[in-house]
Symmetry: C2
Subunit: 264 residues, 2 copies
């Protein structure tokens, strides 16, 4: 195992990332600390986007919103800088990916509003702690994700279908899976759907829209969770002049413990 | 018991209120349906207020936000009209109460944004169902409320102390009280504080800032919950040109069941 994989302290990680010395996925790093999605939008889009997230808390669990121009997440990660402390960022202009960068200093403007949105790493850690195995982690692949026929609740400029992730779960682990993930509504929480993929508009479970397919064994049931790709997809559809996100898998690591957002 | 007290159907209630035929408190009406606080503000205040609520979910649990100019709560109360379906409204201009009215048709403007915020009636019903008695209901008085030294998380124009409500709970009911109310984070949820009032800046428990004092018996502990008066007090402090709320005790009754906002 590489030395950097053993990083346990989020502050140490921020410093390494800031100096371009950590350029890998954040999966498994600083275990037990909340990791988040980043969506940064111009302030004229901020009310509609915050309202969209409020109306769709399962795919879009907001954990912190920084006010226009602010780049320190004072609630979840005091001392961090959202412009430099993520390994890779994606820059979108008018809905199109135009650049992938190691910081966003050159793109920063005083009217940008940054949203930190919960990430499934939190409930996956809780599942692993409960001895529920996760195939995409065993296989070291990206979790399969699907565009469903479940419409989100629209808000202002924002609308679109819910994107879900799928994990095959042993039948005897279904109840525990619902219990364990229900503790974390701030990081996608309880499943959205259990069983037949067709019922939520997924026609071919072996052809995910994002990520990689995984095998579903005979004693397993596909279980679906609302996915953080939803707010990104919905925001891009509205073609804002600029939108900045983390690059997939390269999350923002906070200095707040997972358990601090558990409901019970 | 008066005939109108037996109203079980929220839609029947909306019609009666709309025709000025129901002008009483909504406590105990349409039992099992969510009742909410109303805060209506000009759209220029909407992002900051929504962000304030997002940062302070215990005192300000947002259940629905209508977009600028909209007056039908499509998610919680399809067919209702927020301008007419509450018995009494309060109109504030620049932070001062200027009128109390039976509808707000004359005050309505296309840029007003209305927020429906969870109300303690929901968790009180759950407590009564669990055989936990509530003194202010036994005595038919308004629950005592106190301004604490617990600062809210400020957002934009909005900041101020948390207001709490207090209910004396028998020692043997403390655990069940925490369990039952924890199911409802959307309606103030778990207690904020249990025990010594001084620790949250309340110097005289017999002199509440709002509502009426209640006796705390020898085998009882004072238990404190974040209160929906907090967002109103904080919004008024910012002196918006206009702000409209329900009158205390005269809530908006939705057609959505309490249990639909329970987390587990």
């Amino acid at each position: 195992m590489n030395k950097t994989e053993l990083i346990e302290d989020p502050k140490e990680l921020w410093n390494l990332i800031r100096e371009d010395k950590y350029l890998k996925s954040t999966a498994g790093v600083a275990l037990g600390y909340l990791q988040t999605n980043l969506v940064t939008l111009p302030s004229e889009y901020a009310f509609d986007f915050l309202l969209f997230c409020q109306r769709n808390p399962k795919p879009c669990p907001i954990l912190e919103v920084m006010e226009p121009g602010e780049y320190e997440p004072k609630i979840l990660a005091k001392g961090a800088d959202i412009r430099t402390d993520i390994p890779y960022y994606r820059i979108y202009e008018h809905g199109k990916l135009v650049n992938e960068t190691k910081n966003i200093i050159d793109y920063w403007k005083d009217d940008l509003v940054s949203f930190l949105i919960g990430c499934s790493f939190t409930f996956e850690t809780a599942m692993l702690n409960a001895n529920i195995s996760l195939r995409h982690i065993e296989q070291d692949t990206t979790v399969p994700m699907y565009i469903t026929n479940l419409e989100t609740q629209a808000a202002g400029k924002f609308s679109g279908p819910t994107v879900v992730s799928m994990r095959p779960i042993k039948k005897e682990h279904l109840v525990r899976t619902v219990q364990v993930t229900s503790r974390f509504p701030g990081t996608h929480g309880a499943p959205l759907h259990i069983g037949n993929p067709n019922e939520i508009g997924i026609n071919n479970i072996d052809a995910p829209d994002f990520g990689e397919k995984v095998e579903i064994k005979e004693n397993e049931i596909p279980v679906f969770w609302a996915c953080g790709v939803t707010p990104q997809a919905v925001a891009l559809k509205s073609k804002p002049p600029i939108m900045i996100t983390h690059s997939p898998g390269y999350m923002f690591v906070t200095s707040t413990r997972d358990d601090s957002v558990a409901v019970i």
